[in-house]
Symmetry: C2
Subunit: 234 residues, 2 copies
DNA sequence: ACAAAAGTGTTACACGTACACCCATGG
DNA sequence: CCATGGGTGTACGTGTAACACTTTTGT
């Protein structure tokens, strides 16, 4: 049995892949190898298959591009302007993913001509992909102000100064390092390791690991993390 | 030109309609008049038409059921489990709307056998509509803790005790009325009127109106409104 | 010994919360 | 005159933000 007399549409999934390389916030884009808009920059996307959920399709697409599985991913929203794709009416559901760039497993610029771009130096993208990224950036700022989310972008061991650089990158601002580290340590989510990172300073900075158990417990108890979050969220 | 070799799917829009009648938080449901699941309670929904965006479809559906236009409405998320509709594979995009029940213009139980239910005394719904409502409730709690959103559920003129009842209904808790009114008035969003509501008490409670200009300016500057929001958000 | 980044402590202020009494009115 | 709900003020504790100096170590 089927529903009769109703239109059936293409449904695409587009992935907004955020990454952090230790210094900068970045986004992974591909260069389309086929018409229309060949050679133009784009989000990685694809059509949903008949037996897939959107989540599964998004993970399939992410894996195809990065080789990674088990990555933090969240549904952003559906984009449905009837004219958004000139070829054929398509509804796009956007997902955003957070990955540690060190873990990125494929070579850049091979299969899909993929490239990491600084978040604030992005090229023009096809279709409505630019507004998608803007909305995703905003959602990430919103959410990271309230939840301990950005750890997803860091390697297992990281230092407080790295973490601070990450937050400062996302919000394009600077934080007082004393207040920053006190607030973070007061969450009890970080476990100090014995080793130090000696790469980035002479004195060396202690590595920390995330207390995974407390992390999942406290995911929603992290509000008020960014001072004056309203300054940053639109 | 078309994309070839890709599956086309049905896309439905389902509306979660929240309302407040002055005392209680409610949700508007309909009783399906057709098979499958005839007579069972359901969200109001419909299929997207070829020339519509999802937003427009959601507004069309809302108007058909309530007679209302220009209502606060927000995309919740897409639901895409391949088995979610046994008749045919359908992706549903859920929207939630906030309306003042006094403004509801249609008669109950006519065209669609619609009925208002207390939010915590909802019947079992068809398909995956129950989890949709749960997710919507949660999103509303989250968002209302951070933004001055619940005014959408009130008439133009309202009293502080009404407003407090509304918040207490959503969070299933009670607030100290002194702290509540001080915090609200300190936002500067409320303009006190000269008249009082004499219906609900002998002394009468002053009516307030929303300062619409400041409201839109401050929509994102309302964080930290609920004490310990993390207690309420999951 | 010097440069460069890591790490730590104190103080002032704002905000949040708990709490108790008076006011206005209709019956 | 009294019961009912509306409205206000204060004191205390917590959390946030601003701020400067010492430590470590490689060169």
């Amino acid at each position: 049995m089927k529903y009769s007399g109703q239109a059936r549409l293409l449904v695409a999934v587009d992935c907004i892949i955020f990454g952090f390389d230790g210094d900068n916030f970045k986004i992974l884009l591909i260069q389309r190898g086929f018409a229309p808009e060949k050679k133009k920059w784009s989000l990685m996307g694809g059509f949903i298959q008949p037996e897939e959920s959107l989540e599964i399709a998004a993970n399939r697409i992410l894996k195809k591009l990065t080789g990674l599985e088990g990555v933090y991913m969240e549904q952003l929203q559906a984009f449905s302007n009837p004219d958004r794709d000139p070829v054929e009416r398509t509804i796009a559901v956007a997902y955003f993913a957070l990955i540690d760039i060190q873990k990125y497993q494929k070579q850049l610029s091979t299969d899909y001509h993929a490239e990491w771009f600084l978040l604030d130096k992005m090229p023009k993208l096809i279709l409505d992909h630019n507004p998608m990224v803007e909305i995703a950036k905003n959602r990430l700022r919103y959410k990271a102000a309230l939840h301990p989310l950005l750890f997803e972008l860091l390697p297992e061991k990281f230092t407080i100064p790295q973490l601070q650089a990450l937050y400062e990158g996302l919000y394009s601002t600077t934080f007082d390092k004393r207040n920053f580290s006190r607030k973070l340590l007061s969450t009890g989510l970080l476990i100090r390791q014995k080793e130090k990172d000696k790469e980035n300073s002479r004195k060396g900075a202690f590595y920390f690991k995330l207390d995974k158990l407390k992390y999942s417990d406290n995911f929603d108890a992290f509000l008020k993390f960014i001072p004056n979050p309203d300054k940053f969220i639109s």
